[in-house]
Structures are given as C-alpha cells and as structure tokens.
Amino acid sequence: MKDNKIHIYRTRTKILLSFFVCILTLVIVRFFYLQIIQGNELRELREQNINAFEYIYPKRGRIISRDGTVLAEDRKVFSLAIDIEQKPSEQSINKLADLFSEKIIVEDLRLKVGNSIRFRRTEIVINKLTQEDLAKYLVSGADITGFSVIEGYERQYNSHPSIFHVLGHMGYINNSDVKYFSPRISEYNSKLWSKVGKSGLERVYEQKLQGEHGKRFFQRNARGDRRVVTDISPFREGEDLSISIDFEAQKLAYELMDERKGSVVVIDLQDFSIPVAISTPSISANDLRDISSSQYQDLLNDPARPLFNRAFMGLYPPASTIKPLLTIFALNNGYTNWDETIFDDGFFRFEEEERIFNAWREGGHGLTDLEKALVESSNPFFMNLSIRYEKNLFVEFLKSSSFGSKLCEDCYPHQFSPLIDDNWKYKNFGKELYKGDFINLGVGQGYMLTTPLHLSLISGILAKKGKYELPYLVAKKQNKLSVIEDITDEDWNKLQSSLIDVIYSPNGTGYRINAGELKLAGKSGTAQVVDINSREEYDEVRVNPLLRDHAIFIGYAPYDDPRYSIAVIVENGESGGRVAGPIAKKVLEELLNDF
C-alpha cells in the first residue's frame, strides 16, 4: 500500500517534471526565435517606436519686380496654440479667455483643449497674433500654462491689385494640384505641402519658390512626449524670383484703366520680357488669402470677373489692329501693292452673296490706297483684299504669327489665340471656311480672336520688322527667333511710316492721342461686340454700356528704335484711338522715362 503510494507519487512527479522540461524547452525555442531569428526585425520596430521626425518648413522664395519692389514674401506669423506637452489648467483656460475676450469663446477653447489632449495634436487658439496680442500674452502669460506661441509663415503680397493676376495666389493643395505638379516637379511629394501656388507665377515656379523641407529627428516616449532632438537635416529655403514686371508702370496702367474692364500688356522688345501685364478689375492678392468660401463664390460670380486674367486669357476680336499684320501677308503674296486704289463709299458689297458690310465711317473715305487705308482704317479696302486670300496661305500666315500656339511659357493660366482654319470652323460650326468668312477675318472681326498678350506681340512683330521671340515673365528659355514671311525693307518702312501717320497725321485714327515727343507708332481698333446691320441698331446698342464696342490700341515706341510694344483693350470703351490710345501713351512714357 505504502509502496504503491510512493510509486504513484514518483510517477506523477516525473510526469509533471517532464511536462515542465518540455515547456522550458519550448520557451527557449520561442526566445531563440524572437531574439535570434526575428531580432533585427523587432529591433527595427523598436527604433520606429522611439525615433520620429518632424518637418522643418522652408521659407518660400520672394517675388521681386524689375525695379526692386518685393511683391510677395513669406512673413513670420505667430499663433497661440495649445501645448501638447502639458495640459492647460482650468484656471489658465479662464484667464486666457479673459485676456482675449473678444477673440476667444471659453466653450470653444475648452473643446479645443479636449481635442488636443484626445488626439494629441496642436490646436491653434488664435491664428496670426498681432504685435499687440503677442505683447499682451507675453506680459501676462507667465501664470498661464499649457499654451505656447508657435511660429509659422504666411504669404504676404504687395496689396496693389494690379499685380494679383501675374503673381497668382496660394491655396490648400487638392487632387488637381497634385495632378498638375507631379509630372512637372521630379519626385514630387504632395504630402509635404499644405498650400501650393494655384495660379500665376506662384504656380509656374512652385518648385523654385517652395524650397526643400528639412527634418528634425527626435526621440519620443510612448505618449509622444519627451523630445530629445537627435539630428537636424539641412533644409533649403525657396529661391527668390526676379520677374520682368516694372511695378511702377504696372500700377500706373492699372490706375489709368480707372475701374473699366480691360487689359494692358507691354513687351520689352530688347529681350521680349513682359514689363506690364494687367487685367482689370482685379483684387489684392492678400484678400484672396483670408477670404471665406462664400466671399470667394461672390468673386467667382461677379459679372466683372475680377479673378479672370484678361491679359493672358481674354479673347477679343482684334478689329482694325490686325490690319497692319495682314498687310504684310497681302504684300508678300502679291494681293496688293502700295499703288492700288479703291473707292471707299462706306460699305463693302460682297457680290457672290449679295451681302453688304458696313464700315465704321458714314460716307466712307473716298479714293483710298493701302497707306490711307491703314492710317484712316478703311474697312472696305481690306475687305476687298480679303476676298482674294487663298485659304491655305492665310492659315499658314496666321500660324507663323503665333495663332494657335502657346505664346508664353510662364504665363499661367494661359490661352492661345485660336487658329482659324477648316478644322476650327468644322469643330465649332460643322462647316468649312468659305470666302465670306474672310471678309470679316480680314478686318479682325468674325471668328478672329486674340489675347491682349498676343496683340502686344503682334505690335512687337511690326516694330521689329517681322523678327520676334516668345515673351516671358521670368525665365528666358532658349528663346528662338521667329521670322514671319518676309517682305522687302522698303515695304516694311512704308508700313511703319503708315503706323506713325496713324498717330501723327491729322487724318490718323490715333491723332487725338497727342503723342507728342513719345515717337509712338500704332494702330487703333474698335471691336464690335454684337453684329450690327444698320446705323439705327448701332444707336440702340450704344445705350447699353455692356454692348458698346471694345476699344483697342496696339503700338510701339520709340518708332526710330523700338523699345516697347503695347496692347491696350478697354472693354466697351468704344473708341480705340480716343480711349485706349491715351492709356498706351502714358504707360509707355512712364517706361521710357525710367532710362
């Protein structure tokens, strides 16, 4: 009996002991697996636990005008935020709310404190502290705990509205921005940027302006605090951008527009940079930064379209201002010469269709040759020419004058003047171009549309006798010299002297500009907004300001050694010579007086 019990005891103890040894072996195997086989992986996880980094945001580059004015820069702003490291006491919360009673509601503050603790994130209490607020906080902030002043950058623009469209604006990044920048910026990491350039130079030169983030490496504990900075990787501030805009002239041009809708674009003919590009009406770029979404909607719905950049996007019929360019085409292809005359009786009869096209002056210009047709702007003369134009040659010529192609690499957003050919007409009207179309095209009406930038360039082409480069705002990308179909020097001289006569001959449509010593050459135009078939209708139309004709002027100065070309469009301004011309004169004077 006793032996049996001892036997049972020993047997069972042995069983338990074997079981123990088995588990012991299992544990050793398990630790071998964890420490030797998975050791490196798990150590890597531990490093991820402890080591973290945060980004150091670079300062965005400034944008500086040709005359040295800083148009955009990042300014340091201070904000009051809830400190993640320490919980604000109830006392501090009340005290802070008292201190900034006009900016803080206690309930909001409590909610933010709660969120900050729950999600362990920095909550901003007051965005952009004023100097006064900052001083107030620093003086009485000693016994307020749990809050801290944090630094950040904010884009500060020159507040003059003339510059908004060129500079563009910044905004919170969205999918379409990512889509835009990804192919343009190598290794683009959209997650790093909360705000990016949405339009203008801010968008085109995003990469140059944005700089590079640095990283601040630190160690943290499981709660995320106790930061020991271990390393800081270098970061690069954004590069400054020097742009071709002459800010004084830009401001002057804007003010001369006097709240009328329109645009002024000047091209410097030495290098084809753009010293003036304005679109009116406009807003201050700073306004758009702080705007609410409903205010933004209001701006979008404003019929005057202040956010629309007319200089690079607006499409206007060039009207008579296209005549000098088409003169080159007509002379080169032998459609006319300086000796041909017609009798202008105020309208043009298109025999094939038995249609009558009215010209702007009642009774017409009488006996008219090419020079007189340019100086006095005879429509019947050019209509008579245009029915002779051969379609293919005409389209080729438009192409060589930059219709249908991008004019400026760093103008954004950008629209090119449509190339009017069979394809275009087929797409828009389901028909091919026919002869009648050319009557309108020949006087810059009908389907013909150009941007102010393009008109300024056309003016430059006339000034430089057919040789031109593509205009730009910042970077000179191996600009290639383009030459449109060449005519003889004699023809060029005659054409240019006609353009001078436009301004200085008493018969000229630009005589009223009183250009004086500016040595201005140019061409005015008046673009019809609606088709008008009779004079009675015309008088009716004049009553409604929005249906009045657009006033257009293109020109260059000084005519003996052209330096600047200009295009001015005043929407519903009616007279190119009287309304748009004087603006051009004053802007060019301002630019030329600089030297």
């Binding site: 006793k2 019990k5 001892i6 049972i8 005891y9 020993r10 069972r12 103890t13 042995k14 338990l16 002991l17 123990f20 040894v21 588990i23 012991l24 299992l26 544990v27 050793i28 398990r30 630790f31 071998f32 964890l34 420490q35 030797i36 998975q38 050791g39 490196n40 992986e41 798990l42 150590r43 996880l45 531990r46 636990n49 402890i50 160690q219 943290r220 504990n221 499981a222 709660r223 106790r226």
Partner: protein
Amino acid sequence: MIFNLRNSIILFSLMTIILMGSLTIYSVTSIDINYFLRFLLINIFVILLVVLLFNQINLNRIFSFGWLLFLFNILLVLSVEVFGKEINGSKRWLDFGFLSLQPSEFMKITFALFAIQYLRFYSFKFSKFRTIFLLLVLFLSAIPIIAQPDLGTGLVYIFLGLMFLFICGMHRVYFTAIGIFGALLSPLIYSFGLTSYQKGRIISWFSSDQTLSEKWNILQSEISIGSGGFSGEGFLNSKQNEFNFLPEADTDFIFSIYAEQFGFIGVFLILIMLGCFIVMTTLLTMTEKRLTSDLSPYYIGTYCTLVIGFSFLLNILMVSGMIPVVGLPLPFFTKGGSSLLCFSIMLGLIFTSRGFLK
C-alpha cells in the same frame, strides 16, 4: 540541510535568479543604486526570515492549521470586495499602507495546506466522496477570485490545485472527467461568465488586430525581447523601458525588459538556472531514501517547487505572446509584496520539508 554539491547547485541557481530579479527591478524602476541594494536586501531578508521561521516550526503544526489558514485566506479574498482598491477595473489588493497585498495570491498555498490536513486524516485514501468534496472546495473557492474579476489568477489557482491533487494521487478518471467537462463548458463560460475586459484579453490574443491595446502590449513586449538579440543591449540599456513603450514593465512584463538587457544568453542562463533549481529540488525530494509512511512533506515540497517553476514559465509564455495576457507575476522578479511573500513562503516550505526529512 547539508551543503553538498547538489544542495550548492540548488542554492546557487536560486541566488542567481533572485539577484537577476533584483537587478532587473532596479533597472526598470530607478536609477538609484541604493534602491537596488534595498530591494535585494528586502528580498533576501524576507526569504531568509520566512525560511528560518518555517525551519523553527514543526511542519506538522502548520498542517494542523491548514483549514483555518484556508478559511482565513478566503475571508481576506472576500474582504477585498469591501476594502480593496481598484486597479484596471478589478479589485484585487488590500492596502496596508506600507504594503499592499493580493490575498488571492496565497490561495494556492493555503488550499494545499488545507488539502494536506484533510487527506492526511484519511491517510491519503481518495474515496469518491472525499475526491468530490475536495474538487468542490477547489472550484467554489475559485469563484471569489474570478469574481474580482481576476480570471487569470483564478484559473491558475484551479490548475495548481488540480496539480496538487494529482501529486497526492487522486484517481486519474476525475482529471479526464474535468478535462472533458471543462472543454464542453468553456463556450458557455465565455458567453455568460466573463466581463468585457476579460473577453477583450482573450479576443486580443486570437485576433490579429493590432490596435487592441492588449495586442499592443504583447507586441511591445515581443519588441523588447527581440531587441535584446543574442547578447542584449546591456544592463540599464532597455530603450523600451526608457521610453515607456512597455506597460507594466515592473510587474507582469518585467521579463521582457530583462530579455532586452541581457539578450538570448541572459534568457538562456536564467532558464537553465530555473531548470536546475526545479529539477534538482524535485528529484532530490522525490528520491529521498528514507521515505516515511507520511508522504505529506514530499507532496507539499514537490508542489511548491513545481508552482514556482510553472509560474515562472507561464509568465514567460505570456510575455512572449504564446498564451493570453493573464496577469501572472514572475517569481522573484515582479515588484510586489504579495508575490515576494508568497514565493518566500513556498521556499520556506520546500526547505522545511526537506529539512524535516533529515
């Protein structure tokens, strides 16, 4: 006790475990070397005191108080419901100011003492009635522990109690029956008998969803262990501890910190020491030449040795992610009065039982 080679090995391995435990506690909780010395001294002092105290008392006298101690212990466990302090949603501790005790820890000893007293009276003859009576006492006394709620300690208590009855020679049919019964009942217990906290612990062990905080604890524990690699990060160099990534680093998860500091070599060493201590002690007790008619000292000695061994392994299985997190202390490592006192008493019983035999 005679200081021969075998006894020296037992003592040496035990001392190594105690020393390593104190060092690890020191590395987790404090940077002050005095703290380590104090902790080590307290550890050794308590252990020696208890062992010497037990040596002075006739083991038979202790056994004769078995049922009283057991009853007193149950009352203490119940009183926790009234006076206890709550941690992690369960009341387990009695706060005496200088020391907070977890009475449920001592149940595994007092039950054994009670069972010894009861069975010795009947010369360890397991009749049907006595067997069922003991099993009922075991299961019913586990209820207040589980209700605290402390499922882990409760289940371990039941397993250890069964192990004691196994050593004492209870018929194996009952173990089979309990096994089958338990397996059939467990789904019901899971559905109706557990709190959401307990369910969470079990779910986290089976699910791969790492956001559950329990799973996170295990992951952090595995990270600590794995980071130790072969030779460890070195003493006082546990980064997981320094940056607070390991919760309860000074109690349940202390072995992970040990593993991070001393690596696989350290783990292997401590496990070999444990193996030496448990196997040698058990074998020496079991193969004693002069086995008397009263086997109760052997039963209690073997039982206490195996409890220390299995507690150690269960805790390590837990921190290395092989069993659910059940909140088991690691003998001589875990910082805590009850655990230290409990395992000291067991050491006392082990040495006394062997000394008694001589």
